[in-house]
Symmetry: C2
Subunit: 107 residues, 2 copies
């Protein structure tokens, strides 16, 4: 359960719930996260068996930053979290309504 | 959303989902948590408006550890998390089944 506790983890999972993402796409969708934090969280999620990584090669890949040539997707186990992510989103959206806060459009 | 990310937070909420608890009861149900950690997490949950505290006096209260004479309960907002807690429990239990792990009996 602790794997879900890391900062940004739930947001990353919410994006991946929408389907496979290249590393660069994840960075663009989460402009406030550092490269170090995103890479660390993705590695934790991989170790927990919730996310899988597929090299897609392509021009973006280079030795210094191998993760640029990689796509991430939820594993079956990770997809099992969809009800949790949806319930969290619903709770967060209702809470945001009450306090008139902006909601990140990750459905 | 980050308020849910702290270690032990989800477990504390899962216990409070079952109803009001005195501080001492929470400590007994979570033998592995330190007094400092439990007090800190409860304070965070109070600040987030998810938990409320009611002094119940009684012999346990003393100046050095005022929280001993206090009971904790979910606020309405906190009770709004029940679907999230249930979905998390279901996901955790299914995952534990797959890996034959013991499951904390917090229903």
């Amino acid at each position: 359960m602790d794997v879900l506790g890391g900062r940004w983890t739930v947001v990353i999972l919410a994006h991946l719930k929408e389907g496979v993402h290249r590393y660069g796409e994840l960075r663009r969708r989460m402009p406030d996260i550092t490269e170090k934090m995103l890479t660390q969280r993705l590695r934790e999620l991989e170790r927990a068996g919730l996310v899988e990584r597929t090299p897609h090669g392509g021009a973006a890949a280079d030795d210094a930053r191998p993760w640029l040539g990689v796509s991430y997707d939820l594993t079956d186990e990770g997809r099992g979290l969809k009800p949790v992510l949806q319930a969290l989103y619903d709770w967060g959206a209702a809470r945001a309504d009450r306090y008139a806060l902006p909601v990140d459009p990750v459905s």
